[in-house]
């Protein structure tokens, strides 16, 4: 070992490195064979030909050399042989900072292109964390981290400003919908959905809040936003500071627990989704006692369940989709945004490459907060700009606020004739808003139904009167539950314990609606569904799928047949069932798709 004196910070970095490396990272340190396969996958390399300091393996070796010198065998004995090395001065740490923060967005594209499974992005994040732990970081990272530690959100939005924004959005929405009862509920307890956002929404883009509120309202969701723990973004992901990551994630989780919410819905933000949905439980050392999902899934489900109706012709411009690295490469959110986009827009064009192979918006990994690296970032954005331009689309849609900023910046820089938007905006714009539910129920009463007392109370009490519903489910308890609820609401109900019996009854009775289980002995629900859609006499009967196995969705959605009019997960609640059945019967089959 060298006798060179080591600075306090360098000492601390090395000390923490030996504690921080887990088996996954040790594998990444040991497994690189310097084959160079990952080199071209990095957007920095593509835009800086001839500059080896952008090569992923070279960048990784700036960190790996420390591991080799201080923890591995060969590097300890003959360091020069494996290019092992140490760090002694604060200047060297500053140089390392420029690499791990300035020359990598932690996009994980090289990770997925390494045959050895070397996860450089995760190692790079760890290196950032080591530097942050001794106070070496870009100024922007320090400022944002401080805000998130002290104020509770990464943009320093004060609680009163956040609440004012929600109030303002509520007023806007009331006048927009001409409905004084519309609410953006705050701290409401026992809701189905606790909705959390990116502070950028409160500060710069409040329309995304009112659009989300509009969607929740139209879907009839029982939802709320927390007054504390509302920021689902997490700068710990970018700074590599697991303590910050854990504290921020716990704040959000505690808000959901405090409000006794059933589900945490995370608005469209790639790093927020990854942090809160995936990494947060690890950093915070907690197992989530509630469900958590991206708002993309929530919106898609509302459409599938018939809770909201959309008209794609309302968004008749050309759009393309940018996969956020965190959503796609780290959380597998590939198909749902596309499915949603196809439902709410009429001219969707794929960008190439896409999904797990998409290029970073170049503003990822916290790059937007590091102004000192902006010229390098914008130069590397040429790859993305070319990708965008090749689509010829008027709008690029993304499910990430960070990407919105990154894309806007590069669009301006490269003068592209394109705008950026998010799915929540498109869904809100495509909404078909119907008259209030009670009046619809009265209006939609079938003409053939026997005359009843015409007061709305009676009509509302038996909203399904005159409707014939076929329940196909192999579980007797479920059949009983569904038929009781439906009969109590005026429907006449037929039941079938398997698919074949269901088909027979459907042909004989021509019900107004069929509820269909997917997991049944004999022909499964997917086959029965196809048979219904293929039958000339039955094909127009609306179908609501009710299943306890969401993974069986593919039995339906992988098929080239019209989508079901409704989709419900078991256990299904009485009011959810009724809302959906009533909606489906009101809107008819064709309107939903």
């Amino acid at each position: 070992m060298s006798t060179q004196v080591r600075s306090y910070k360098a000492n601390k970095v090395l000390e923490r490195l030996t504690k921080k490396v887990n088996r996954q990272i040790a594998g990444t340190m040991l497994a690189c064979v310097h084959c160079g396969q990952c080199t071209d996958s990095c957007h920095y390399v593509q835009t800086n030909p001839g500059d080896h300091t952008f090569v992923p393996a070279w960048k990784a070796d700036r960190v790996r050399k420390l591991f080799k010198r201080h923890m591995d065998w060969t590097g300890r004995v003959i360091p020069w042989w494996v290019k092992a090395g140490s760090v002694y001065t604060d200047e060297e740490l500053e140089e390392l900072k420029d690499i791990v923060f300035g020359k990598c967005t932690n996009c994980r594209r090289c990770t997925l292109n390494c045959p050895m499974g070397v996860d450089f992005a995760t190692m790079n994040r760890m290196a950032r964390g080591l530097l942050v732990s001794v106070g070496i970081m870009p100024e922007g990272v320090a400022v944002v981290s401080k805000d998130q530690w002290e104020i509770g959100n990464q943009m320093g939005v004060l609680k009163e400003d956040y609440l004012d924004t929600l109030e303002w959005m509520e007023e806007e929405l009331r006048s927009d919908l001409d409905d004084p009862t519309v609410e953006i509920p705050v701290d409401k307890e026992d809701c189905e959905v606790v909705y959390t956002i990116n502070p950028r929404e409160a500060k710069y883009d409040p329309r995304t809040i009112s659009d989300a509120a509009k969607i929740f309202h139209v879907a009839g969701e029982n939802w709320t936003m927390p007054s504390e723990g509302w920021d689902m973004t997490n700068f710990g992901l970018f700074s590599g500071d697991d303590d910050l990551g854990g504290a921020v994630a716990r704040r959000v989780y505690e808000a959901v627990v405090r409000l006794r919410g059933k589900k945490l819905v995370i608005s469209e933000c790639g790093h927020g989704y990854r942090s809160t949905r995936c990494e947060g439980p690890n950093w915070g050392g907690v197992d989530l006692p509630f469900e958590a999902e991206s708002s993309v899934l929530t919106m898609l489900r509302y459409i599938k369940e018939g809770r909201i109706k959309v008209d794609p012709s309302k968004n008749d411009f050309s759009v393309t989709f940018h996969d956020s690295c965190n959503n796609a490469r780290s959380c597998g959110l590939f198909e749902e945004p596309r499915e949603l986009l196809n439902l709410v827009t009429s001219d969707f064009r794929e960008m190439y490459p896409n999904r797990a192979e998409n290029y970073c918006c170049t503003g990822g990994g916290g790059a937007m907060s590091m102004s000192e690296y902006a010229p390098m970032r914008l130069k590397s954005a040429k790859v993305k700009a070319d990708q965008l331009a090749a689509t010829g689309a008027e709008y690029v849609v993304t499910s990430c606020h960070n990407c919105v900023d990154g894309l806007n910046d590069l669009i301006k820089h490269y003068k592209l004739p394109m705008k950026v938007t998010q799915l929540v905006n498109l869904v809100a714009d495509a909404l078909v808003i119907e008259p209030a539910k009670a009046s619809v129920v009265v209006e939609k009463k079938p003409e053939a139904a026997p005359a009843v007392d015409e007061t709305p109370t009676v009509a509302a009490a038996l909203p399904l009167e005159g409707r014939k519903i076929l329940v196909i489910d192999d579980e007797p308890d479920i059949r009983t539950f569904l038929s009781t609820v439906l009969e109590d609401n005026g429907a006449s109900v037929l039941t079938a314990g398997n698919g074949d019996e269901g088909m027979e009854k459907a042909r004989a009775e021509r019900p107004d609606l069929i509820t269909l289980d997917l997991n049944m002995p004999g022909r499964d629900g997917g086959q029965i569904y196809s048979a219904i859609r293929a039958d000339e006499d039955l094909k127009d009967i609306p179908v609501v799928i009710i299943t306890g196995k969401p993974e069986l969705r593919k039995l339906i959605y992988d098929k080239d047949v019209r989508r079901p009019e409704g989709y419900l997960d078991k256990p299904v609640k009485e009011d959810t069932l009724l809302t959906n059945v009533r909606k489906v019967l009101e809107v008819g089959a064709d309107d939903v798709n």
Binding site: N22, Q24, G27, C32, G332, Y359, Q387
Partner: protein, 233 residues
Amino acid sequence: MSEALHFAEHTLQEATLVIMAIVYTSRLVWLFRRFKAGKERQGPTGAPNTTPRKGFLYSWAIIGMPWVMESSRTKPIMYGTFVIFHLGVVLAIAESFIIPYGASMLAANPWLATLIQVSTGAACAVGVFRIIRRVSDSNMRAISSPDDYFSLVLLTVWFAFASLSAPNQGVPEWVLLTYFWMTAFFLLYVPFSKISHYLYYPITRYYLGKSLGNRGVYPIVPSAPGYGESTAK
């Protein structure tokens, strides 16, 4: 057979194999005891056909599926050289067992000697190609260490001797001696060099695959529309 060759084929090989096994075992013990696996608490996300189990199985198999990874798909020649090189390694190692313990197999099956000779010869040619690439490409030079160059040269020369030694019968003794002494050195050197990467492959790919499987990324569905087509370069 001379005493020197008998020693090189048997005693030397057996001793170095035992040493290698001990070093590898202690290496794995070090890796598993020194480094705890990071716990993953997050619930599954993504498509239902992605699970941790499917994820790591896919991750392990990825090396045999060049079409799913852009870096392999877009560089078929590199992938081809990878296959030839590693096939050469397998056959050159097999040869070091076949000659001492199953020479009759070689005599009875001339095609076997030809197969080994051709494969290790091709691997040697790939080795030369890789040396040229590593030296001539500035990015490759920047990431290469003395160990990278030495390991590559060692393997390339070893392939040449494996190819020359494959027929066994009628091969000059100095060629066989060189091949077996190189094999012994190779066995001793491997655990301390990057050549030991095959020991880590299952581990890194297991953890990455498990995590990406849980998060809906693996297995990737490359048949998705437009997947992998590139307009950006």
